[in-house]
Structures are given as C-alpha cells and as structure tokens.
C-alpha cells in the first residue's frame, strides 16, 4: 500500500481547449533502457484470455510493446529494429474478434506485449471475482458457484468525444515531454507517462483510443470551457528588464507549484493496493487499485517502475461514481467475510438497505430471490 510518486517529472504550462486542460510532464533525464511502442489492432473487439477459464470481451484498439535491456544500455523501441520479424502481426480485415492471450504476454526475451489500461481494468473487474468466500444462506447458488461472473463495466472511447480529439490535435508537445495529465472541466481524467520523449511523440495520438469513464464523458459534453491560468506580473516593483526576467521565472514556478500541490492531489495523495504483473530486468509492470472511497476521486491504473521506484510508464483511469460504489461494496463485503449483517453494521445501515443497495449496484443476482423479495417488502413497510 503505497502512494504514487511522480518524482523526475516536471510540470510545464497547461494548454487549454474547450473544457479540456492538458498539462505536459517533462522528464529531465529520459529512461533510455526501456522503450514502448504501440501495436494497433484496428477497431475490432477483442477477447482476452486472462486465465485458463477466465476471459473477457472488450474494445481493444491497441497494445503496447515494451522493449528493455538488462545492462542499462539504451534500448530501441520495438518496430524501429531492423529485424522485422513480427510474430504478432496486424489482423486481416475480415477478423472481427481477436483473441489476446493474457493482458501481458512475453513476445521475446526482452519484449513484452501488454494491453494498456486493460491490465488495470482487469484488476478492477476481477476484484473479489470469486464471489462469497463463506456460503452464508442469503447468497444465491449462482453466486456461490460462479462468483460475480459475468461482470460488465462501461467506458467511452476518447475518439468518440469531439473535444478531447481536437485538444490532442492542437496540443503542442514540449521538447523532452514524457507525459501528460488530462483534465476535463478540471477533474483529472487520466495520467499518461512513458519512458522516452520519442515514445511520447509516437504514442500521443493513442490517448484518443483510450477508455474514459462516464463522468469524463458527461463533463466534456456538458461543461463550459475552462479558463486559462494566465500569467499575472505585479508591475509596481519592476524597474529594469532583469527584474522583469526574475518575475517571469517566478510566474513559471508559481504555476508548477500550484498545479503540483492542488490539481492532481486526488490521485497522488491516496494509497493504492499494488499487484505485480510482470518483471522485466530492472523494471516491474504492476497495477494498482484504490481503497474505493465513495463520493471522491478514485483512479485505477498500471505502472512500470524501475529498481529505484521511479515511474517509467503510467496510465490511469478515473472510475465513475457507480464503479466506485460497486468497488466499495465488494471490498466491504470481502472485509466482513461476505456476512450481510456484519457488513450492514460496518456501513451503518440495516441489512435490508444493504440488500437493496447491492441490487441497485447491479449485484441483485448474488442474493437469493426470496431474501431479496423479503428486503423489498421490508422497504415498502417502512
């Protein structure tokens, strides 16, 4: 359980387009021995086999291929290498369904293919996926036998929403830029960090193909344009150009300080449960889940960190309010060994209220029908 740490990445002035604010992150020193590259799968739906008997279907527009070297020498992004042997080549047009074996899969000794965001999403979808760990009598047979399967969540593709597409198109990439924070109506929608500026330049358009939560979709559609944070220099003390130059530098620092201490706090100030997915040399690919605090910002994500804990790759997804509520309910239930009465006490509500809450969260099928009917009847009586 640790927080996220964006050390080594410096904030640069934001660029605004409509309700979208993009804050560039510049790396002082690029990570040279890990490189990323996109692998496009076209618009086909993909079926991901997560385990021997688990799988899920989703829109998967692209995958990332990570290449690294063991001894710290610079790596080349896969695809820029002269060896063109591509054992996972692009699909033919007729193929509507693509089967991905695992969300992260080794392609060669020093190459890993993974599906961006899907690592994180899968972590969220599979949360307490096994269902009740104790067969209390309230749970249905189906819940005990199959767990939460099938589990469905919804998200929006960035390219479907006009404003972010324009914002990304007109965005001017900074020299040395390795990441970006995407704010919509000043709510943090996503963070994207890569190891090297060249990777960022090629992967910048893939932000459009990423998934965005329901909240972000609403904000983009409904919110008025946000204001630029324009520079303001108090002119009373300025006597010479040198003074002005100092004031200009102060302005630039002021923005970075303000941003870092105010805007991404919903992401950076909370602890996350980390799970290691894959180790590649000195780098670790892992995913993280928040503690599910209802009515607050909650992000899930995935990251590649090096041996010193510095972030080489990061991608986050902001959960919608309903998704947070579902995550919260499941984690409370699991913490109380799936005992309904205990959980209700823990949450400070009656058992019937908890049952109905489960139903409105989309987990009604987990409860036995007669138990659920009983809860409904009790609500009518009150």
């Amino acid at each position: 359980m640790t927080t996220l740490d964006l050390t080594g990445l410096t904030t640069r002035p934001a660029q605004v387009w409509g309700a979208v604010r993009l804050v560039p992150l510049v790396r002082d020193e690029p990570v040279a021995d890990l490189r990323l590259r996109a692998q496009l799968y076209g618009g086909a739906a993909g079926l991901v086999q997560v385990g021997p008997r688990h799988g899920y279907v989703s829109y998967i527009p692209h995958g990332f291929v990570a290449t690294w070297t063991g001894d710290g020498t610079p790596a080349a992004a896969y695809g820029t290498q002269l060896s063109a042997s591509d054992d996972d080549s692009a699909p033919t047009a007729v193929m509507g369904l693509r089967i991905h074996r695992r969300t992260a899969r080794r392609q060669a000794g020093d190459r890993l293919r993974f599906l961006p965001l899907h690592l994180a999403l899968e972590g969220y979808l599979a949360l307490h996926f096994g269902g009740p760990s104790f067969a209390w009598e309230e749970w249905s047979q189906r819940a005990i036998r199959q767990g939460l399967s099938p589990r469905v969540e919804e998200a929006y593709v960035g390219a479907e929403i006009r404003e972010p597409s324009d914002a990304l198109r007109v965005f001017e990439i900074h020299p040395g830029q390795c990441g970006v924070l995407v704010y919509v109506a000043d709510a943090l929608a996503a963070v994207f960090v890569v190891p090297h500026p060249d990777d960022y330049r090629t992967l910048h358009p893939t932000l459009l193909q990423d998934l965005y939560g329901e909240l972000i979709h609403h904000y983009v559609t409904l919110m008025p344009p946000v204001q630029d944070f324009r520079a303001r220099i108090p002119d009373a003390h300025i006597r010479s150009l040198a003074h002005l130059r100092t004031a200009v530098a102060e302005q630039e620092d002021a923005w970075a300080r303000f941003h870092d201490t105010t805007m991404p706090t919903g992401l950076l100030e909370h602890t996350y449960a980390w799970q290691t997915v894959y180790r590649m040399g000195r780098f670790t690919l892992s995913r993280f889940l928040p503690t599910f605090r209802p009515k607050q910002e909650n992000h899930i994500g995935e990251a590649i960190t090096d041996d010193t804990g510095r972030i080489a790759y990061l991608k986050t997804f902001r959960l919608s309010e309903n998704q947070v509520r579902r995550g919260h309910l499941l984690s409370r239930l699991a913490a109380n060994n799936w005992h309904l009465a205990d959980t209700a006490v823990d949450l400070g509500i009656t058992e019937a209220q908890l049952g109905l809450r489960l139903e409105s969260a989309g987990f009604g099928h987990l409860l036995r029908q007669d138990v659920l009917d009983g809860y409904r009847k009790r609500r009518q009586r009150f």
Binding site: R12, P13, A14, Q15, V16, P24, V170, E172, I173, H174, P175, D228, F229, R230, A231, R232, I233, D235, I238, R239, S240, L241, L244, R245, V248, Q251, E252, W255
Partner: protein
C-alpha cells in the same frame, strides 16, 4: 474629437481588413473550413450593411484574392442599394482590382455571379471591359475554356472573331482554325506532338487521353509551364526522373520561395543551402527596394511552434510567412537579429515544432534594445499563457513609456471565433499578414490598430490608397 460611433467604425474596418488579409476560407490549425467560412461571411455581410463606402475602399488595400473576389461579388449583388456616386467609385475600384486578380479567380468570380443570378447592366459592362483588356483571348479560350464560355454567355457578349465563337461553343465542328493556338488544340485531339505546344493544364488532359507516361509528359511540357507550376511540380517530376522541370529560384516571389524551402527535407536544404539562401536574400532585396538598410536596429520574434504547421490546406503557411519575414527584415534593417521561439538559430532548417514560449523570447529580444521589434506569430502564446501580454504591458507602461522601441505584431492566421486575428496585448498593435511582401505597408497600417488614430485619418488613408491604385491603373491603360 471623434464620436463614439466613429471609433467603433474605425475598429470594425480594421477588424475586417485583418480578416480579409488573412482568411481564405480554408481550414486552419485551430478551426476548420466551415467555421472560417461562417465567420468570414458574417464579417462581409456586416461591413456591406453598415459601411458600404469603406467596404469598397478596402479593395485598394493588400487584401487577399479570395476576399477581393468576395467583396466584388457582394458589391455587384447589391448594386441596387448604392447611390450613383457610390456606383461610380465602386466601378473604378472593381475594375482596378480585377486587373490585378489572376484570370482563373476572375473567371471563378464570373461563375459565382452567374450562379447567384446577378446580371445587371453594370455587371455585364464590368465583364465586357475586363474581357476587352485580356491580351490574348484565344489563349484564354484554350486554358479557361469553360470559364470564358460562361462569361460570354452570361454577359450576352459576341466573341471578337467568328472563329473564337465557334471554338468556344462548338469546337470540333470546324476542320481548320486560322489562329495557331486554336489549331494546335484541335490537332492535339489526334496528334500527340501537338499537345506539347499547349499550356500545361490543357495539355495534361490530352496527355491522359493519349495515355502518355507521366515522366515523358513532364519532360517535354516543361518549357510550357508557368513559374509556379514549375515550382510546384519540380520535386514530383524529379522523383519520376524528369529532369527538365527546373524552377528558376532567382525570380520567385519571397513567400512562395519560403513555402518551397519548407517543403524540402532537411538533407535537401543542407545540400542546396547556398543556392536557397541566395535566392531568399535576393527575393528579399527585391521586395525591400529603396527601403533597403533603412529601418535601423530591428529585432524579430518569429514563431516556429507546432501550430505554424497550419493545416492540410495551408501547409506550413504561417511558418513560411515567418521565414520570409526573417529574410525581408534582414534586408530592411541595418542591424538585424531574428529569434525563433524554439531557440533555433539556423533559419533555413526551421520546422514546426514544440510549444510557443513567446513571453521569454520577447524578453530576449528587448534585451538587445532594438529600435523596432516585429513579432510574427499566430498569437497562441501558451508557455505559459498570457506571459507575452504581461511582458509587453510592463515594457510599455513601466520600462519604455517614451516609446523608444516601436513594437508591432503581425499575425498570419485568422481566428474564426474572435472575428479577428488573435492579439497579444492591447498595448501592441496587431495586423494580419498574408504575404511577407506586404510587411512595410502593414506596419504602416498597424499604427491605426493602436487605437490612437480615428476614423477621419483612417478614411484619408484608405482614400489615398484608392487614389494611388486607380491612378496606377489609369497610367497602365494609357500605355
């Protein structure tokens, strides 16, 4: 003292002039084609409805051909609303402006008038007069056949010769034409060798008809190409192995040349560095003319951020304008420094890249203490936003209230949402720019944009420009 209404009028006219210089109704980096059209159409309707005289007088300024054609069309469409005096002065302005427009634009304009159903006596007279000044109608009949045909039909004109009439309306009914060019066109239907004596655009169709390979065609048609066709086709012809297509860079206009340089790859630019630099410098010298080395100490802040890529329609146009301004200012100034926003020092290798830290660059420029500071940028100052405005404001109000340094901002991009070019700061005059060649005139015009001169001065200025234009035109005709 001007009344409030006069100040607004002066403001509106400048706004319109800026739009008419920069916007071409094509998509830009920050707005698409539809937004540009909508915005521009509104401005034209607004100006025509409120300030008809000034709207017509704008024809004398360096507005672009697209807007000149639009102004003429709107004036002719609403001829009924004008008084007799207005019609007389408008007629002269329109005739002068048509004489400077490229013929394809004029034929396009006649087509638009036809579609709009404008066929008053004045329109017909204007069409007749313009056609009578064409040096060779047989050439027009070959190169702009459908344009000429529509114009003749719409204005009820009888072609100069009987042969020309037949050629335009029923071309293949004659066995022989006495005019050599028309006869060549007739022969080109059957004989491949004949098509190489036709203008390039007309020959291209025949080449397709005869199935001539592209490289052979380009090789042999090269002498018949216009200057700009050569420049445009040079690279693609070389790729196909046709070496005869070789543009003479020495005679090219400055901004065209800058666009061409930017279209080359970095290796090509390095290889031809001496030749390209010489061509750019001599083009700049030609534009500077008698003003050469007369501007004193000049510093320029030139925008080469990613947004100067423009759009797929206007590829690298804002950057080309900045590059052309760089060479022109070097010719105009005694002592010149050009600062690119990216920090690049080699102007020839410039490319659209990175953010726009205008504020910092302006500070660097002011450090040099120039007598004149010229900023060429689309005005999207974003690293950090608004810093350029603050630097310029403090410079004007606290550090240089006596105006030792004159500052002017030239903007090559029309901002459709604001109905104007984007301004950096209210303390600095902003003018739109389309071709770097107009820079001296625009710097003159920009003084009005500072808000210190009123409508009376502006009207006088417009009248002088109009008198100069019509005067020049009359002299041309007398010769």
């Amino acid at each position: 003292m001007d009344s409030y209404g006069d100040l607004i009028a002066a403001d509106d006219v400048l706004l319109f002039v800026n739009a008419a210089i920069t916007s071409t109704g094509q998509c830009e980096f920050h707005s698409d084609e539809g937004e540009q059209w909508l915005s521009l159409d509104f401005l034209h309707a607004y100006m025509l409805g409120n300030y008809r005289d000034l709207y017509a007088a704008v024809l004398a300024l360096d507005i672009n051909d697209h807007n000149a054609a639009l102004v003429i069309r709107h004036l002719l469409e609403t001829a009924g609303e004008a008084t007799a005096d207005q019609r007389r002065s408008e007629g002269r302005l329109i005739a002068c402006r048509l004489a400077t427009l490229p013929p394809q634009r004029v034929y396009g304009l006649f087509g638009a008038l036809r579609r709009a159903g404008v066929n008053n006596r004045r329109t017909r007279a204007i069409m007749r007069d313009w056609l009578s000044t064409r040096p060779d109608l047989a050439f027009d009949a070959v190169k702009y056949r459908s344009g000429l045909k529509r114009a003749l039909r719409h204005a009820h004109l009888v072609p100069a010769t009987e042969e020309l009439g037949t050629f335009v309306f029923a071309p293949l009914t004659r066995k022989h034409y006495a005019t050599p060019l028309l006869e060549t066109w007739r022969r080109a239907h059957y004989e491949q060798a004949a098509l190489y004596e036709l203008p390039y655009t007309a020959a291209e169709g025949f080449a397709a008809k005869h199935g001539i390979p592209r490289d052979v065609f380009l090789e042999r048609i090269a002498p018949r190409m216009t200057r700009q066709e050569t420049l445009r086709l040079q690279e693609s012809a070389h790729k196909r192995g046709a070496t005869a297509v070789r543009a003479d860079l020495a005679g090219m206009p400055l901004t065209r040349l800058a666009t061409y340089v930017l279209s080359l790859s970095v290796e090509d630019r390095l290889r031809q560095r001496a030749e390209l630099t010489r061509a750019l410098e001599s083009a700049a010298d030609r534009v500077a003319g008698s003003h050469r080395r007369s501007w004193g100490k000049v510093t320029a802040v030139l925008d080469d951020s990613f947004s100067t890529f423009g759009s797929v329609h206007k590829r690298r146009r804002p950057l080309a304008v900045a590059l052309a301004c760089h060479y022109l200012l070097a010719a105009l100034a005694d002592d010149y420094t050009g600062l690119w926003t990216s920090g690049r020092t080699d102007a020839l290798l410039t490319r659209p890249h990175g953010p726009t830290p205008l504020g910092r660059r302006i500070l660097d420029a002011l450090d040099i203490a120039p007598s004149r500071l010229v900023i060429v940028s689309d005005g999207w100052d974003n690293a950090p936003p608004g810093l350029a405005a603050e630097v310029l404001r403090i410079w004007r109000t606290r550090l240089d209230p006596e105006r030792r340094t004159s500052v002017v901002h030239l903007n090559p991009v029309y901002d459709a949402a604001d109905f104007d070019v984007r301004r950096l700061s209210p303390t600095v005059p902003t003018a739109g720019i389309r071709d770097a060649e107009d820079l001296p005139a625009l710097v003159e015009l920009a003084q009005f944009a500072e808000g210190r001169t009123g409508l009376a001065e502006l009207t006088t200025y417009l009248d002088t420009r109009a008198a100069r234009m019509t005067g020049d035109h009359d002299q041309e005709r007398a010769r």
